[in-house]
């Protein structure tokens, strides 16, 4: 009985539950089915929508406006196709970016030299692993000429010892000269020709991660001649008269030189350093030969900079730099001619002035720079600098009449340091734009 009733109840209950459950499933299922199940049998033959009149009309001016860019686009496509998709084009571009290609064209322009063109030949790993041999020559619109032969052994920042042996000939036909001393005037600009031949050996010994010893020795010959820019006084005799120079101030010279230096670096990384700094001190002894026997002097260069991280990768850099020429025995020896003295202006500091703008025995410069990251390998920077030349730090030093320049630019970084710098700088006298390949602060 119990079992029977139990069975009947179970059957009835189950029937009801099943009915309710089915109803619920059907109800929810119907709503849900319409909501979630998409009927992919409902197919259409797709076609673009009928576009409004405005869109059709607007195609006319759009096409006309883009027409010149279309031509440019096709030309660019051709260049990319040739330069990147084709093996030989790829090799040329790779050669320019990473000059393993033996031949590299040299093209440049500057106001003083005019357009210059030439060729460079480069070979690597000929005698030893890491050696590099370069031969380059260029000639410019205004007869500037340059020939370089160089062999380097050991790669910088890769191997502990690096030796570079080079021979160089340059002929600069429009070199400016403004007179000697801090008080020289821009309006007094004259120009002359300077031919320079050097044979030189540079060595770097990396003693530790932070300490490097620098060695340097060689021979140099300088010949002076009349300048070729007729807009300025360019006759050597006239130059002597203009500035009241002594004969030795403007003599041609030949000399041997050699010296040592130390570089202590505590930057946190070679790529875009944010903290740390560097001290570099180097002294070179110069001994005149041939007709320059009386030339005996030391050239000393000291440079100190410290980077201070402002926040994130924004960095302030403070730099102090001094150059000094010390004649071994002033009573016996000649003063070196003006073109061998310390100078400020252009890439040597006081960027906002003409190159070699200020010349004297000693020079001192201080710079503060703020740099900030712009892109992956691109930094922006702003700088302010002050500098002055002196006839003697001890006898002539003064805090007055310091020259200043300021400006900004961008800097391209490679893994081992700066690859290129573009700088706009201005001073009381002029505004200069400069592009510099290679290291710079």
């Amino acid at each position: 009985m119990g079992i029977h009733r139990s069975n009947r109840l179970t059957f009835r209950s189950l029937s009801r539950y099943v009915a309710v459950a089915c109803l619920s499933i059907v109800t929810v299922g119907v709503i849900g089915a319409e909501a979630y199940d998409i009927d992919t049998t409902r197919t259409r033959d797709p076609r673009p929508p009928e576009l409004p009149l405005s869109t059709k009309l607007a195609r006319v001016p759009s096409t006309i406006l883009y027409a010149p860019f279309w031509v440019l686009e096709q030309a660019t496509y051709g260049l990319v196709w040739l330069g990147y998709e084709q093996q030989f084009g790829k090799q040329i571009i790779e050669g320019i970016l990473d000059p393993t290609l033996p031949v590299v064209p040299i093209i440049s322009y500057s106001g003083r030299e005019g357009f210059a063109g030439g060729l460079g030949f480069r070979l690597r790993d000929i005698a030893t692993s890491g050696d590099e041999w370069r031969l380059a020559g260029s000639y410019s619109q205004y007869n500037y000429a340059s020939v370089l032969a160089e062999a380097s052994f050991g790669r910088r920042n890769r191997q502990p010892f690096q030796l570079v042996i080079s021979g160089r000939y340059t002929k600069n036909t429009r070199e400016p000269f403004f007179g000697i001393g801090n008080g020289s005037q821009q309006r007094d600009e004259v120009n002359f020709t300077l031919e320079t031949t050097t044979l030189e050996a540079d060595a770097r010994f990396v003693l530790s991660q932070s300490l490097t010893v620098l060695g340097n020795a060689g021979y140099a010959a300088h010949n002076l001649g009349d300048g070729e820019d007729d807009d300025f006084v360019s006759d050597l005799d006239a130059i002597i008269d203009t500035f009241g120079l002594a004969t030795e101030d403007i003599a041609s010279t030949r000399y041997l030189f050699g010296g040592l230096g130390l570089q202590l670096n505590w930057e946190n990384q070679p790529f875009r350093p944010t903290t740390g700094g560097q001290i570099r001190a180097q002294t070179l002894y110069h001994q005149g030969v041939a007709r320059s026997d009386n030339l005996q002097y030391f050239r000393t260069h000291v440079e100190l900079y410290q980077r201070i991280q402002f926040f994130r990768e924004r960095v302030f850099t403070l730099l102090v730099e001094a150059n000094s020429i010390d004649v071994v025995d002033p009573t016996e020896n000649e003063e070196p001619p003006f073109y061998l003295e310390s100078s400020l202006g252009g890439n040597a500091g006081l960027y906002g002035y003409e190159p070699e703008r200020f010349i004297d025995k000693e020079s001192l410069r201080g710079l503060i720079e703020y740099s900030y990251p712009i892109w992956d390998i691109l930094d922006g920077f702003l700088f302010y600098e002050q500098g002055r030349v002196f006839s003697s730090f001890t006898n002539d030093f003064s805090w007055r009449n310091w020259r200043f320049s300021w400006g900004g630019g961008i800097r391209l970084w490679g893994a081992d340091g700066v690859i290129a710098t573009m700088r706009i700088s201005t001073s009381q006298e002029t505004t200069r734009f400069a592009f510099q390949l290679g290291a710079g602060l």
Binding site: I31, I38, D45, P46, P61, F69, I374
Partner: protein, 569 residues
């Protein structure tokens, strides 16, 4: 000449405004369509080639200029009336096609299906794998193998020092794109021992244009550059060969030799809204070269299917090493951002600069705190991404938000991270980025979706929906009111409801039928009724939006059919 330009400009602008007028959409009982018939048999088109360099130049410069000088496009942007996607159906959805298949959003995938992705089974590890082809191109080391079943896979590895980074990210990304609806290759995390590899006899590869034998030393050289476990096993992402490939598809235009390719890629919603998924996963390297066409059929006739390919540069990885932090915030060469950064003199701090150091090598810089979906950028500008409208973005955000927490667990579990803390962190990042996408894009229009209509048996109509914001936990509630119109006249205003359904009472239904009876004799009239649903949120950061449901009355069998869904910004 000046007059010509002025006339053209005025005509364009006026015509544009004329075209802006809203009207009832052209709907029929055939709507909505859920499949675009773009698989009609065609002769096999030419294989297309890729040029990564040209792609970068074209996208970064010429496409930008072209867009700027496109009078129609620029005028539309100025007046906030961007052209909507072409391939949407009357529900404002994307029908299935050779580009896209509606999957997880409408029919949630099971954990098992989510984990298996586009694949069915991983490579067979019971026997020897034969190295059948060296990998050509790309940054990362790899090679092709054929497993004992005869299936061919390309193997991608992890870099030494970054175990599970590249393989894990790609495994997750491939599954996400598949579940969302895109075509992707079958990809599996797999493990093998060096001893189980054999090199196909006579296998060669090219070095500087010359054929060189692929030797044991070559193989060991490749394996020496990749991460291996202490017991000599290698973890790989095995990506199955897509058959019959025929080069990449383009993010612009159509193929002239494919009659099925009717809609320019830049006007496809699934390609425009791909940006949202890419932003979620930081798929920064999306480009033509990372797509592929496959010819489905025999050599004579078939159709082209369009795949996304190579997720080696997603989340925190670029190929096999960690991304730089700035990826996803700028294009490769972003002139505008370079200009702005230069001008700001470094005083403006980009969000990526605030990203801390890498905590987990398996994850890299992939993070959620600084992520802003609306500011995310791919490697270089992708035209469809730039054409994305609010509705496209809403649709893309739906796809992303459809991955709920348990789905994310399935996805991350498919990456087989060894360390549990990595799994937890990856889940957190994906979840937070997903919710940021939801908050950024869902608010652009009404978030009522997946509508259904049913008869309650008493003559009333029940219209139900999913309130996405509420279901996905972004708001606590919403209040919806309805308004029924026919031929421009209000028939009734329905009372507010907090439920996810609204009832059109039988009296209103009768009134609707009567209204149609009065118009039946008009040959231009159609039995199309508009039910406007307006939802208000108590949370102030969500605007009030309305959505129009278009109901078709079948008077022959007294049935109602939902034929259209029209969203308004």
């Amino acid at each position: 000449m000046n007059r010509l330009w002025v006339t053209l400009s005025i005509t364009t602008v006026m015509a544009l405004f004329i075209g802006c007028g809203s009207s009832a959409p052209k709907l029929t009982p055939e709507d909505p369509h859920w499949r675009d018939n773009d698989a009609r048999p065609i002769p096999k088109p030419e294989e297309s080639s890729e040029s990564i360099a040209w792609d970068a130049v074209r996208r970064g410069t010429f496409n930008q200029i072209q867009q700027l000088l496109d009078v129609d496009r620029s005028t539309r942007i100025i007046f906030g009336n961007r052209q909507e996607s072409w391939n949407i159906n009357s529900y404002d959805e994307v029908p299935n096609s050779s580009w896209f298949t509606n999957r997880h959003y409408f029919t949630p995938l099971s954990r098992k299906k989510m984990m298996s992705g586009a694949g069915t089974a991983p490579p067979d590890t019971t026997g020897t794998w034969v190295v059948s082809r060296p990998k050509v191109g790309g940054v990362t080391p790899g090679f092709w193998i054929t497993d004992p079943k005869g299936d061919t896979y390309i193997l991608k590895f992890d870099r030494i020092g970054f175990p599970e980074l590249a393989t894990g990210a790609a495994a997750i990304a491939g599954r996400v794109f598949h579940a969302a609806g895109y075509f992707v290759a079958e990809e599996h995390i797999s493990y093998f021992h060096r001893d189980s590899l054999e090199i196909k006899e006579g296998l060669t590869y090219k070095v500087d244009g010359e054929r060189v034998l692929f030797t044991t030393e070559t193989l060991d050289g490749i394996l020496a550059r990749v991460q291996a476990s202490s017991d000599g096993y290698y973890r790989v992402l095995a990506s199955k060969l897509i058959p019959n490939v025929m080069g990449p598809w383009s993010f612009t235009g159509t193929r002239s030799d494919d009659p099925n390719d009717w809609c320019p890629a830049e006007n496809r919603r699934e390609i425009r809204a791909l940006k949202i998924l890419c932003a979620w996963l930081n798929h920064w390297d999306i480009k033509d070269a990372n797509t592929i066409n496959s010819f489905v059929g025999n050599d004579d006739t078939g159709y082209v299917r369009h795949y996304l390919l190579d997720f080696g540069t997603v989340m925190g990885t670029v190929s096999d090493r960690p991304y730089g932090r700035r990826r996803g915030y700028h294009n490769y060469f972003d002139l505008k951002d370079i200009f702005l950064t230069s001008l700001s003199l470094g005083l403006y701090v980009w969000p990526w600069e605030k990203i801390g150091p890498i905590t987990y090598p398996e994850i890299g810089y992939f993070e959620s705190e600084q992520f802003n979906p609306k500011r995310w950028k791919p490697g270089y500008p992708i035209p469809p991404f730039e054409n994305m409208t609010h509705r496209d973005a809403f649709w893309g955000a739906k796809l992303v938000m459809a991955f709920r927490d348990d789905d994310l667990e399935a996805l991350v579990d498919a990456a087989y991270f060894t360390r549990p803390e990595v799994r937890t962190e990856m889940l957190r990042i994906l979840r937070e980025r997903r919710d940021k996408i939801g908050r950024a894009y869902l608010g652009a229009t009404s978030t009522l979706d997946r509508f259904a209509i049913s008869d309650d048996g008493n003559g009333s109509l029940v219209v139900s929906w999913d309130d996405l914001l509420q279901d996905w936990g972004l708001v606590t509630s919403g209040e919806t009111r309805g308004e029924v119109r026919f031929d421009g006249n209000i028939i009734t205003v329905l009372p507010r409801t907090r439920e996810q359904q609204i009832t059109v009472p039988s009296e209103t239904v009768s009134a609707m039928q009567t209204a149609w009876d009065a118009k039946r004799t008009n040959p231009d009239a159609s039995p199309l009724f508009r039910l406007r649903l307006t939802t208000e949120r108590s949370e102030s950061n969500w605007a009030t939006h309305h959505v129009d449901l278009w109901l078709w009355y079948h008077d022959d069998d007294n049935k109602w059919q939902l034929v259209g869904v029209q969203r308004h910004d």
